[in-house]
């Protein structure tokens, strides 16, 4: 028989089976829903949601639509994921490097941290940080100010709010500084390549990023004042802070546990990456006269990153997906707000779960694409 046909037939059969199975499930769901009088449709998204959410990045209350509630949940999921990823990366890199430290105390401490946090289920850690923190934190009226303006209480972390005047001028000056730094860097590189001279780019950059925004304060009419949280009494033993910005303890506990947990995995990726660079590479770099800083920056890190990035991408994806455990401690993420309350109020289980699944899929794919792009950028470029 034709070899080509032999290859195609099994694949055709597989496709057919997949289509049949899916068709069967869809058909069955349709019949069952019809029998039980359940309508299918996405029209509910424009209806009034009539429930409130504790914490939202955009303006929202119960008079907005279910779609708006979906956006609130989605943004909260993205918020906790982004903050979690930033902290997990910083902590992961520090711990990963610390594990390779020649100092016995430091590397043992790092190893203990990794083994401890990696091996306890995440949900348990979230409960621990949330309820332990709730029990340990003071009531608003008993809280002492941190640095005079921050209040960490059982009802949340209260921080001063910034009140800007002419904020746009300040932002323009900041953008101008960044553009100037990029231009100078490109110029400095050219100078080095053509004339072999090294310009003090780092110090120029530091200077620019401070001086330009400072000028905007002095001559641009920018001013900044702080609104400091003030204690307000609700009842005999019940207080809150008014003014300023309040970060709910649910957000803090969730970010903390996600970052601490994921950082252990990232630390191992970093350690593997650094150890994966051959010893000969460092010795060769030193022998051509590079100083230790340059060895790390120009020889070790570019090679280590290639090993670190792909598994770290997985950890970023895990963190994003794990953020759905938020529902357990009342952080209003996508699962709690949309696949929780909205699902309950509308009864549109299939629609809402499918939207939620699609959303997580899109989030994960976006992170993957971003990290793959970065990975390609730092990969060995064969000329």
């Amino acid at each position: 028989m034709d070899l080509k046909l032999q290859k195609i037939i099994p694949q055709l059969i597989t496709v057919l089976v997949v289509v049949l199975v899916f068709g069967f499930f869809t058909y069955n769901a349709q019949i069952n829903m019809e029998n039980r009088g359940i309508d299918f449709g996405y029209g509910f998204l424009s209806q009034e949601s009539s429930f409130d959410v504790q914490f939202s990045l955009i303006e929202y209350d119960g008079s907005h639509s279910y779609f708006r509630a979906y956006l609130v949940g989605l943004l909260n999921t993205i918020l906790v994921s982004v903050i979690g990823i930033i902290f997990a990366t910083i902590l992961g890199v520090i711990v990963g490097v610390a594990r390779l430290s020649p100092n016995y105390l430091i590397n043992q401490f790092a190893a203990f941290y990794v083994e401890f946090f990696r091996n306890i289920p995440l949900l348990l850690q979230i409960f621990f940080w949330y309820f332990a923190a709730l029990r340990a934190l003071p009531l608003p009226q008993d809280a002492d100010a941190i640095l005079g303006v921050f209040y960490l209480t059982i009802k949340g972390l209260y921080v001063p709010a910034f009140i800007w005047e002419n904020l746009n001028v300040f932002l323009y000056s900041l953008i101008a500084a960044i553009v100037a730094i990029v231009v100078i860097r490109i110029h400095a590189r050219k100078v080095q390549e053509t004339q072999g001279k090294q310009l003090p780019v780092f110090w120029i950059a530091i200077g620019l990023i401070f001086i330009l925004p400072l000028l905007s304060f002095l001559i641009g009419g920018v001013s900044l004042s702080f609104e400091i949280p003030k204690l307000k009494q609700l009842a005999t033993t019940s207080f809150i802070y008014e003014g300023g910005v309040s970060l709910p303890p649910e957000l803090i506990a969730l970010t903390l546990s996600l970052a601490l947990y994921t950082a252990t995995f990232i630390a191992e990726c970093v350690r593997a990456g650094i150890q994966g660079v051959g010893k000969g590479q460092k010795e060769a770099a030193a022998s051509i006269g590079l100083n230790p800083n340059q060895v790390l920056k120009l020889v070790v890190m570019p090679q280590a990153l290639r090993i670190i990035i792909p598994p770290t991408t997985n950890q970023y994806l895990n963190l994003t997906k794990n953020s759905s455990l938020a529902a357990a401690i009342a952080y209003p993420d996508l699962v709690l707000v949309f696949a929780g309350t909205a699902l309950m109020q509308t009864g549109k289980a299939i629609e809402i779960v499918s939207i939620t699944m699609l959303t997580y899929l899109s989030l994960s794919i976006s992170i993957s694409i971003l990290m793959n792009w970065y990975n390609k950028k730092i990969a060995i470029k064969e000329k």
Binding site: I13, L134, E250, M344
Partner: protein, 346 residues
């Protein structure tokens, strides 16, 4: 081509299996649920994850509560044994999906009967086994004695996926008070967070507040405010589309309430067969052919009363004697000043 005979046969077999499946589901016969229940030998009942007085499991896994008794009554009527029930603990969020997907056949989980739930999502409410209303719990030390003392910025702990979330918004909006809703997925976490001081008030159905108060580290430090901010008729729910099963569950509950009305108890049910009152005789199966309408025998209601007891016995055993709500309030018979009034079993 012989190479693929094996694959092809398995494919054909699979397709055949799929199709028999489909025809089975499409053949929605009259009360499939009753037939299936009798075939399985137990009633599949969805309950809460632990609400004292309503549905709560002890250390040995025995379920008790007035919601549990509804399922037991159906088991007694349909299978002849009140213990032939398989209980499935469900969160507020999971409960309707579990019922509509066919995982359970009765949902008896302190569920509020509302128009949208009844009409929209493939459910049918069969009656009310507890008249409740939403209330607020606060710490005694706060000095709050009425909801009129609530101020802007108050934080309220509650469950997601319940009517509570919606009522809370209606209440605070109507009073013009800004509030911080802190909504958890499970009741245990709500209680833990409120108990720790995360919220100023804890809001849910008043019966729930009374029951959860017993779980607090120091119950005496908390009070339930007198105001009731919503109507919460709680009752059992069945899937839409099986009217016979719906009738069985409805009349199992009604039989318990009517039995109390006529003074029939688990202790005297047998002797009531010789009563002079035809209504009593019908309920204990000594007169009429009431069971036949559901495809059951005539002693279905007698078994309920003997094995589970009447509504008053169930209430006393589960709610009054446990100290949750000793006063029956609206859940008293209509003849005694309450609003429990069921259609006659005849």
């Amino acid at each position: 081509m012989f190479k693929y005979v094996k694959q092809l046969t398995s494919l054909v077999a699979m397709v055949a299996v799929l199709f028999t499946f489909t025809t089975e589901t499409m053949a929605a016969k009259k009360s499939k649920t009753l037939k299936n229940t009798q075939k399985k030998g137990f009633v599949r009942c969805g309950v809460s994850q632990g609400l004292p007085g309503f549905s709560n499991a002890d250390a040995a896994g025995n379920w008790t509560g007035i919601d549990v008794d509804v399922c037991r009554a159906v088991a007694a009527a349909v299978l002849g044994d009140a213990n032939k029930v398989k209980f499935t603990p469900l969160s507020a969020k999971e409960r309707f999906t579990a019922l509509t997907s066919g995982e359970i056949d009765i949902l008896s989980r302190n569920t509020t009967w509302t128009l949208s739930r009844d009409a929209d999502i493939g459910l049918t409410f069969v009656g009310v086994n507890f008249y409740d209303g939403q209330g607020f719990m606060v710490r005694k030390s706060s000095g709050i004695t009425s909801t009129s003392q609530f101020k802007d910025g108050i934080s309220a702990c509650t469950n997601i996926g319940t009517t509570t979330e919606l009522n809370m918004r209606d209440f605070f909006n109507s009073k013009g008070i800004s509030y911080e809703p802190v909504a958890f997925e499970k009741a245990d976490e709500v209680v833990a967070a409120y108990d720790a001081g995360r919220c100023d008030t804890y809001t849910t159905d008043k019966s729930g507040l009374a029951a959860q108060r017993t779980k607090m580290s120091n119950p005496d430090e908390h009070i339930v405010l007198p105001e009731t901010v919503s109507k919460e008729p709680l009752g059992p729910v069945v899937r839409q589309g099986d009217s016979v099963w719906e009738d069985i569950v409805r009349w199992s509950l009604n039989a318990m309430i009517e039995a109390e009305e006529y003074g029939i108890t688990s202790a005297n049910a047998d002797s009531m067969k010789t009563s002079d009152n035809p209504a009593v005789k019908r309920l204990v199966g000594a007169e009429g052919e009431l069971g036949a309408a559901f495809g059951l025998d005539n002693e279905w209601s007698l078994r309920i009363i003997k094995q589970v007891g009447n509504y008053g016995e169930s209430y006393k055993r589960n709610i009054a004697d446990t100290g949750i709500l000793p006063d029956r309030g609206p859940n008293e018979l209509w003849t005694k000043g309450g609003i429990l009034y069921v259609p006659p079993a005849r």
